[in-house]
Amino acid sequence: MLKLDRVNKYFFRNTQDERWAVRNLSLEVQKGEFVTVVGSNGAGKTTLLNLISGTYFPDSGRIFIDGQDVTTVPAYERAKYLGRVFQNTFQGTAASLTIEENLAIAYLKGKRKGIRMAISEKMREYFRERLAEIGLGLERRLKDRVGLLSGGQRQALALLMATFGNPKILLLDEHTANLDPKTGEKIMELTTRLIEENALTAIMVTHNLQDALQYGHRTLMMDEGEVVLDIFGEERKRMTIQELLERFSELRHKKFAEDRALLSS
């Protein structure tokens, strides 16, 4: 479903501040696979997602989605294959627009925009149905502006929007990091449900090692722009956070420096 072939990304290339953010990264993700990605700050996790989504183009290497070379396809064109939820709960929705307007933007994804009314009664019916499924009562608030919602509600809405039209790949960028633990747990429940129900391929970046091992089928650990650990199957099932950290130190001859990850585990 997704293939990265020896992808490199530099920031501030040819300056003193040059940083090699993603190094010769090759990766294949199968259809229906739910991959979690962990790593300390600056490991290249978010850069990886930005490369997949087209926010950045790689300096070298190729990126394929469903067999199609999308390496230089701009983000807004690539978007029809992708759904994405961000860490910042304001980024995945438009706060000044109403709930139904936000959903309509997602509903119309990949369609040519014209001078037709954006929202029909039929669409509203669909929105109510889908909102009812996430159980936050938002189906009764279609005309409320999203700015009035709580962070958790906004993130639930962003998640629903990202899964509209069953994207080929769902990208989750620490989408529970800015929520309180209880809300974050709820959003994770919703995430797994939506992924399972729609048989989505998903890549979730997280700081929470517990979440990384608990959810999904496969865990990647990144460090300095490389994937240093790739665990799945039986090995992953038995893996504890402690073992994961030990494996990391063995491989990289350093400690996994991530206060947030340790605190939240």
Binding site: E77, F86, Q91, T93, A94, S96, L97, I115, M117
Partner: protein
């Protein structure tokens, strides 16, 4: 005649006429304010093209009249010219990646010369004596029994109401919604498969088409076109928008465009009052821009002032 004109008008002008004239001007500038609303509020793009596209509309209208075409052709040409000016600013911003403010200023300064080229001289007249039958002349002749001031008022009112409802409807279409979403959250729009640059181009063009229409209508209203008629128009448009927001509460599209119109009329009334009765305290017509500037500054500073000093 020109020397005594102001005095003549003031003398002949009762309070009701004074009110009607100001409201008429408020309605005329309301068209411009709707354009400013699209860029500043929907697109979050502070577009200064306005100061150039407003006289552009007037100049293009005058040109079509001088070439012997009717006012409808003039208005259509003005709309098209305004849209092109907006498109140019949009291209500067989206293609050349020039910051929004600078893109608008660049177009504005280019338009100053272009407008002079179109007009041929800094000031040209649109007069019945020269055979120019403007929309207002045609309307006056069509309703000979109704006083001219009422004909104009009703026409401008109807025009603005139609424009308001057209804009309301447009902002709820797929493209309109995409434009508003672009102004709110460009990242989201891109992840939802919309090219934000396209939406900016459409929005800025539409905005300047309305601004140019406002210029074309005002040229007919005052009977001449002046190269400097655009100076400060973007700020008075913005003043209308924010005065409306202070006066009326609400965030639906219907209310927001209504805010713009009410704001424009109230702002014109306020400036007319300042000009007429401020005379006794030494207020001169050329103080108007200062008045407008201070008004905008005060309203924009208000939230900060309230936060800093309100709690004490």
């Amino acid at each position: 005649m020109p020397a005594s004109y102001a005095g003549l008008r003031k003398e002949a002008c009762g309070i009701r006429e004074f009110f009607l004239y100001s409201v008429q001007e408020g309605l005329l500038f309301g068209i411009l304010a709707l354009g400013v609303f699209i860029t500043f509020r929907c697109l979050n793009f502070p577009d200064l093209t306005v100061d150039g596209s407003y006289p552009l509309g007037a100049a293009v209208f005058a040109l079509t009249m001088y070439r012997g075409y009717g006012p409808v052709a003039g208005v259509v040409s003005a709309l098209a010219a305004g849209a092109l000016a907006g498109l140019f600013t949009g291209i500067l911003h989206t293609f050349s990646r020039i910051p929004a403010l600078l893109s608008g200023i660049l177009t504005m300064i280019c338009l100053y010369s272009i407008n002079l080229r179109i007009m041929g001289r800094p000031n040209i007249s649109l007069s019945e004596n020269l055979g120019h039958r403007t929309i207002f002349v045609i309307l006056r002749d069509a309703f000979p029994t109704v006083p001219e001031v009422y004909v104009r008022f009703l026409f401008l009112f109807a025009l603005l109401v139609v424009l308001k409802f057209l804009l309301d409807a447009f902002l709820q279409t797929e493209i309109g919604l995409s434009i508003r979403a672009t102004g709110d959250n460009e990242t989201l729009v891109a992840t939802q498969g919309i090219n934000p640059d396209d939406m900016k181009l459409i929005g800025i063009s539409l905005s300047n088409a309305l601004v140019a229409l406002s210029g074309a209508m005002f040229a007919q209203y005052q009977g001449f076109v002046d190269i400097n008629m655009g100076i400060g128009m973007v700020i008075s448009g913005l003043a209308s928008v924010i005065v409306g927001e202070v006066l009326l509460r609400g965030k639906t599209i219907f209310v927001m465009t209504l805010q713009v119109i009410v704001g424009s009329v109230v702002y014109r009334l306020a400036t007319a009052v300042a000009l007429n009765w401020g005379y006794s305290i030494g207020f001169k017509p050329y103080d108007l821009k200062l008045f407008t500037g201070i008004l905008v500054i005060v309203i924009l500073s208000f939230p900060v002032l309230k936060e800093k000093f309100g709690k004490a």
